[in-house]
């Protein structure tokens, strides 16, 4: 009897492992949490997109829940998500942009063409801040709380559903 049970362990264990790995197959490796979750927004020092003489740093994000959107003129999904970002700004959420690997000219042209939901845009032509944020493709959106801690990260295009089901609840949660 004992031997039977022991023998039964083999197929059961095998099945268990197989199920575990099978579930893993269905996971999307591109949907993973940012390594910066629950950490402070990385320190930076940069100029703004509109004014090359104005210097800003991470204290810019303190005091209020802020959505930080990393975008570039070269990024098609950034254009597509602009209406959603404008909607978020209309709802009174503070938006800060990071103009990532772009030129001032193209970035400003983009904003005049597709709308400007941002209170201010951090100019990051070499991707320095993007690198510290672990950005590996635009658009990416970070929710930063009033203490400057990253609380939510959205990789890629923000759809109207994402706004309703994910971003707005997260903003409410950290306000």
């Amino acid at each position: 009897m004992k031997r039977r049970l022991l023998l039964l362990l083999l197929p059961v264990g095998f099945l268990g492992l197989a199920l575990f790995f099978y579930q893993g197959l269905a996971l999307d490796p591109s949907q993973r949490d940012s390594a910066l979750m629950a950490r402070e927004f990385p320190p930076f020092e940069a100029t703004t997109l509109r004014d090359e003489n104005r210097r800003v740093d991470q204290t810019l994000l303190n005091g209020e829940v802020t959505l930080v959107n990393v975008w570039g003129e070269w990024c098609p999904a950034c254009k597509q998500e602009m209406p959603q970002l404008l909607d978020l700004a209309d709802r009174g959420i503070r938006m800060v942009g990071v103009n990532y690997r772009d030129t001032r000219e193209k970035g400003m042209q983009f904003l005049s063409e597709f709308g400007d939901p941002f209170e201010i845009n951090i100019f990051d032509p070499d991707g320095e801040l993007g690198f510290d944020l672990g950005v590996y493709g635009a658009p990416e959106t970070f929710l930063v709380d009033a203490d400057g801690v990253i609380r939510y990260h959205h990789k890629g295009y923000v759809s109207p559903q994402d706004v309703r089901d994910r971003i707005l609840p997260e903003v409410e949660k950290w306000r």
Partner: protein
């Protein structure tokens, strides 16, 4: 025929260009040891965007950025562990082909060892059981049964 040859020639040309483009990133190292460390480090990190390529093998812009950073940190005199930490802090554990040993990965690293040990235990148990069984003498009852079986077979 001529068409095929032209296509083949064009393909080769394209591939040659690809090879040149891949090797265009020239880096200078003070010594061969640093160069080896650079190769090992860039081969051991996964490109966050392309997922199945190491950053030394990928043309994604982020891989180029990461190679550049590894190079700069090496020039800066940082150790391998410092450089790995620097990257993991930004891009997550995901980029390491060999996850580090920590509480989250005990199961991952420990399971194969545990299974091998378990298998060894099972084998030892089986060998021992078999040895005990053969060493055990037959009881009188068993002897009688065997005699009966043998006799029945002989008489038929």
């Amino acid at each position: 025929m001529a068409l095929i040859r032209t296509i083949a020639a064009l393909l080769m040309l394209v591939m040659a260009f690809g090879a040149v483009a891949g090797g265009i990133e020239l880096r200078e190292f003070d010594d061969p040891v640093t160069e080896k460390r650079y190769r090992d480090l860039t081969a051991s990190m996964r490109c966050p965007l392309c997922e199945n390529q190491a950053i030394d093998d990928s043309d994604a812009p982020i891989s180029a950025d990461m190679r550049e950073r590894v190079y700069l940190l090496l020039q800066d005199g940082q150790s391998d562990i410092e450089i790995i930490n620097h990257m993991v802090q930004r891009f997550g554990e995901y980029i390491l082909y060999n996850p580090r040993l920590e509480s989250r990965t005990y199961l991952l690293w420990g399971l194969p060892i545990a299974l091998v040990l378990l298998g060894a235990l099972v084998v030892v148990g089986m060998v021992r059981a078999r040895r005990n069984a053969s060493a055990k003498a037959l009881s009188t009852e068993e002897r009688h049964r065997i005699d009966a079986l043998i006799n029945r077979k002989g008489s038929s």
